[in-house]
Symmetry: C2
Subunit: 123 residues, 2 copies
């Protein structure tokens, strides 16, 4: 059941589009809740949080080789996490010759923030 990692984005199926209603919104259907949870699941790992943080701080795309040095993990593990983040629509992949470069989708991050934020002040 990993077929939702396929790039069906732009069709609002995955995390890229308007799939996620705000948590404080009217009423979230079980399907919407599943899509929203999938987005949070992408960030529910310390390594992936650090990866997003790393890419958010870089104005330029970052080479995978740089992450292999930075995080003390095997190269397949780094690849695995990057794939999950791309599947969630938070990262973009770019091939430059032999190397692969990743960058954040800042709009996707902001949309995720909107999902969480739309909340009334504490009374």
């Amino acid at each position: 059941m990993e077929e939702l990692l396929l790039e069906d984005r732009t069709s609002a199926g995955k995390a890229g589009g308007d799939c996620c209603a705000p948590l404080a919104g009217p009423e979230i259907s079980p399907e919407e809740a599943k899509a929203t949870a999938a987005l949070f699941k992408a960030l529910a790992d310390p390594t992936r949080v650090r990866m997003v943080n790393m890419l958010a701080n870089s104005a330029e795309p970052v080479c995978v080789c740089e992450m292999n040095d930075h995080f003390h993990l095997g190269q397949p593990t780094v690849s695995h996490h990057l794939k999950k983040l791309v599947g969630a629509g938070l990262l973009q992949r770019e091939q430059r010759g032999t190397w692969a470069y990743y960058s954040i989708d800042r709009d996707a991050l902001n949309r995720l923030a909107d999902v969480t934020r739309a909340t009334r002040r504490t009374r």
Copy 2:
């Protein structure tokens, strides 16, 4: 900046307080990344997303019995999810006689949004 200086109630160094630096912030340590991931992990489940949504829409605390009717899950499962959300600092528990009432910590939700949002526009 004094808003996020609120004490992190209950257990020390949990996920509810000001533990989580923004994803676009300077540099996240592995410990900070673990704390941030724990917060996202609390919302990385469809049922918990629906619970937060339900409580975010209610001006009053909601009785557990109401959730047992709403979600088609066993009563221990509902209790399990609620405990996780309380542990993450997103929910508050209140005992009223025989019944237990839960409510969202809207400030905690907003803090979580700040963690995700602090991101520059795509240009």
